[in-house]
Symmetry: D2
């Protein structure tokens, strides 16, 4: 279980990972690597804002081993330029949370997004990395990649390949798409979009490999329900589907059903995986597969109409340093949230039987 | 908050609604009407299994008014025919939870789906109806309708119409689609599919009207995250999207952003509603709109290959009484879950300000 | 985890036991026996109100084995005599919750206590009995007994005897005190008190035997903290102490500390058990021992001054059928709550290590 | 709601306060003052270990006002002398959690108490101070004081005096007992005990003033149940009682019941306050009063018998700097936990009525 705190422009952000079992070897290099995949300024197609994003663990680990007590950590904020946002104080940016925070809390939060800034997701990546280390003991891996950017799509069959292959291929390009041809086009589109001061969205696919059968709760906390909540809690996420997802509405039940078979090891599998590895909210031993839709980021470098606090119409100038496409940096966040969900349900499942 | 219990073939199912504020007038007729929209055997395009599904309230209500303490209720199961399912005892039905329950709990649950049966959702409709009564005090309404069945789609613009209009139109046909032309084709397709012993899925759209700005929590419990979890916890749901959803990945940020305006009452709105009424996880005062994908039901009246407990290959005969298309009966379930989510977050929001 | 619902004078009370692992043999006779220890009218020193208190299980059990899904149950209310309480409608009974419920919920709940009635604890006994069956697998037993009634105290050394001996002795008398001499005097006092239309309280002691070391969480959810909450949630409980409790404030640290030793089986124990089997919130393998103080029941058969809703002074007549001393019937409730706490923490502890 | 992390000898301890409503003025000086009441080395009767214990807020506050989002904070650890504890690595200290942590987590935590150290309670004082600021808006105050040290007791009637009077008197001496005569004797006893290398315990009394009627939940989360859990979660606490507590077991119901009266402002009160301000788990508008028993601290400066990991008998030498009596420093912790409980239940109560 993860609790986080922190705003984009405070001293630090951080969190508490509660419930990590004792005895887990904490690989700090691995965790920092995960965090580096999310950090700003990592390539020419992400925001040029720089943050070193180095995580400091404060508790719960002794001699590199988890002790079973809460793991507290912080990531210091650097490079805050309050002045960057001073022009926004009195106005509502389209697509942003300025207006809704004011409505909810009765006061305007700090400029630059405050708690609504995607900066908060760095803490999720830290916790997700710890969850991944835990899942490694079960040989479970989580791999996400960019499936589409605007109208450019990667080959659909990457979801059926091994996670190890996905990983080695997606890190060969800046987009984190394992399909080299599509990645090249995606990168060109993102660069062109940036030049135009605009933004684009896309779809991230994710696969959880080697998840044993039996994970997930039967009714309200179904595995797909927890995944959907986790994914929709990510900034800019607009949709979630698992297995065949929305496409399953286009076919007949006789086409949709996955046939059970017994493989050579007498292990029961399904021939196809339209169900995305989940039946009745519980994993069936096949890979869990899902897609997440991300809208184009709201901050664009173009003039936009809006209103200020008093309802007066104004024109917002596009300024600052932002991402033309959030997807490459969202890949580790999707993986982190998926890892946290599976780790939690895996632990919870320890109580399913006598 | 709702807890439920019960299997398809036990004595009764039921639940506890905890946290309903004191002083709410409980309209029992309204609740039973909601339940009747979900019950089996209501029309020729649903399963012919008969259940009267009458709810019995046991506590938490005095003289027709909620007392503030837990509202317990049960719905008795009638018409259980154990023999209907005896042929399934030793086999795994494709698309069903028999296999995963066995993996999770180490024992086979009762035939006919047990806890995994959609019968459990009747309890959600009861609780959702109480939540709707609570929302009425805020003039908030929740309307869901069938947007598509397989490849037949209703006119897209129904999402922009008033909920009162949606309600009056959707109840004119058996499909619960407000677009009469599409509804007719959908019904024909469902009847034809039934004849073929097959099943079809589709998409249900839902709109929450008059929800005030400020509802939803900023990070993990975003309004869309809670809705996504609630929807994906419904049997057969495969996907969720809000606002423009997956389509938002196809356009530029400049097209996606909703422009803020000040209407004649000095109230701040957005010109378009691509965001689906939510910014940063918090409602912005515009209608909240979302779609849920439902796969075709897994129980088909055709022979299917599968295996038994020992991995031996077998052929499953299609038998029994089941829904060729679950969507008309899923409409009240989608509404119930949405109402519960909004009611919970509305109460939670009472603590947002000093 | 237990959720309950129900008022003293509705149709039924009931609850949901969530999280009982699959595969537990449910001994219905045992559960009903436990319930019978709490039921009214069981002896001449308890209230003469009659309720058969038979529990009906509605779900979560198949062929006498828990399935892992929620266990729903109800206990029907019999013998409601609304008229018994009609004279109380407009007044506030001293020591009762009429006034505070009105303040909290803005409306007066049903006469006779409503949700505040100790009738609700019957559901706890049902769930506690299931928890006891679960604990049996670990050979853990929970035994409570009456340690004192007003100024009559049982021999202190009963806490050091085996639970099996406590059980066999305490059930030999109506008071549930294993010390036969004290029990006799207690019974006489209770009978005399009843004649005078008055009530008495006392202390219940409880011992959890064979609880393994390691149970309990380190900070907020310490074993003693969860036990304290559980005990203080019981009607009429006024205090909780574990190990030496309040007496530990009277001695020096050098007298308080229990010395660790290694027994002949190389198992580490403590010589004394002043700590009550808990160190740092976690069980140390010694018996967990605690005491709970119960005030004399508030309903007395004497005239009492009070006020009505409008603040007008009135005299309340003592009428009805109530317990002169709640302790004999509270013994199974204390055991039930202790069993639930230990079962929950035991399951939670399954995640303490990798 | 408070989550904490941190060990006595890590880099820092800290926590997250979640659910503090927006708009609360955060008085940093007040918070640090509260913390100073708990810090080590504050007087000659506490441990001479020095920690400045200055709290650093990292988020959730803007321009001195709470924003409604999580308030993260840390307190750096200074003056860690690992060597102080090196002699304890292989042994189990009587009364300490070394043994139980090893049993629970399978590994020995850091020396010096680790997570089990009372150092963690500094975070509770920070959060409790924020809760006190919130309660001030309702004019609710929380005052705890030392009622007894070993066999020396303060005058019983301090519980009936105004909190303002208690506060001004208790801070006049090192013991935090408002009764000057008793305080003098307590101080002498503590000093003498220290000289002998021993420790003493005692009782802390606490009063919550101006708490409105209606706070607390009716069944499991009764106000006294939450208080009991909060108090028993404090290190060294062995017992809790509210109102007359254990003494209520010694009197008749006719003596125990508090008579309702209507005061000159037509407000309904009770003549006496045996109930400790709570009826049926819900505050009745009278002051909430309770006592907490603290054992003598386990660390003594005398030789003690114990065993090491292998069960070998050893003699532990008393070394280091510790408190001869924990009560003066526990007073702010009791207040902090009480303030947190009341703040939480007060916010929760915002949903009790329509």
């Amino acid at each position: 279980m993860l609790s986080t705190f922190g705003e984009s422009h405070g001293t630090a952000i951080g969190g508490i990972i509660d419930g990590c079992p004792a005895g887990l070897k904490i690989d700090f290099t691995f965790i920092q690597n995960e965090l580096d995949k999310r950090k700003p300024g990592q390539s020419k197609i992400t925001t040029q804002r720089k943050e070193s994003d180095s995580v400091e663990f404060l508790s719960g680990i002794l001699n590199g081993i988890s002790t079973g007590t809460p793991i507290g950590f912080i990531i210091k904020n650097e490079n805050q330029k309050e002045s960057d946002y001073s022009h926004l104080e009195e106005t509502f940016r389209p697509g942003h949370a300025d207006f809704t925070y004011l409505q909810k809390y009765g006061l305007k939060h700090t400029a630059g997004g405050g708690r609504a800034s995607a900066r908060e997701t760095a803490c999720r990546v830290v916790a997700g990395a710890v969850a991944k280390l835990f899942l490694k003991h079960y040989k479970i891996t989580v791999s996400a990649f960019v499936q589409s950017v605007k109208n450019i799509e990667a080959d659909k069959n990457w979801m059926e390949k091994k996670n190890s292959l996905i990983e080695s291929n997606k890190e060969k390009n800046l987009v984190r798409c394992p399909d080299a041809r599509a990645a090249k086009k995606m990168q060109e589109l993102i660069e062109q979009t940036k030049k135009n001061g605009n933004t684009v969205g896309g779809v991230i696919s994710c696969k959880i490999e080697n998840i044993p059968a039996g994970i997930g709760e039967p009714v309200f906390d179904k595995l797909q329900a927890e995944l959907a909540k986790a994914m929709l809690s990510i900034n800019a996420a607009k949709g979630f589907e698992y297995g065949l997802g929305f496409d399953s509405t286009k076919i007949y039940g006789s086409e949709m059903n996955d046939v059970f078979i017994s493989d050579k090891n007498k292990s029961i599998k399904t021939l196809s995986n339209n169900s995305g590895g989940i039946l009745g909210g519980i994993s069936n031993g096949m890979p869990v597969t899902f897609n997440v839709a991300f809208k184009p980021v709201s901050t664009i470098m173009q003039d936009q109409n809006s209103v200020d606090k008093n309802g007066k119409q104004i024109v917002l100038k596009g300024k600052g340093r932002h991402d033309p496409c959030v997807l490459p940096r969202a890949v580790p966040i999707v993986e982190a949230m998926a890892a946290l969900v599976v780790a939690d349900l895996l632990l919870r499942n320890r109580s399913s039987k006598l």
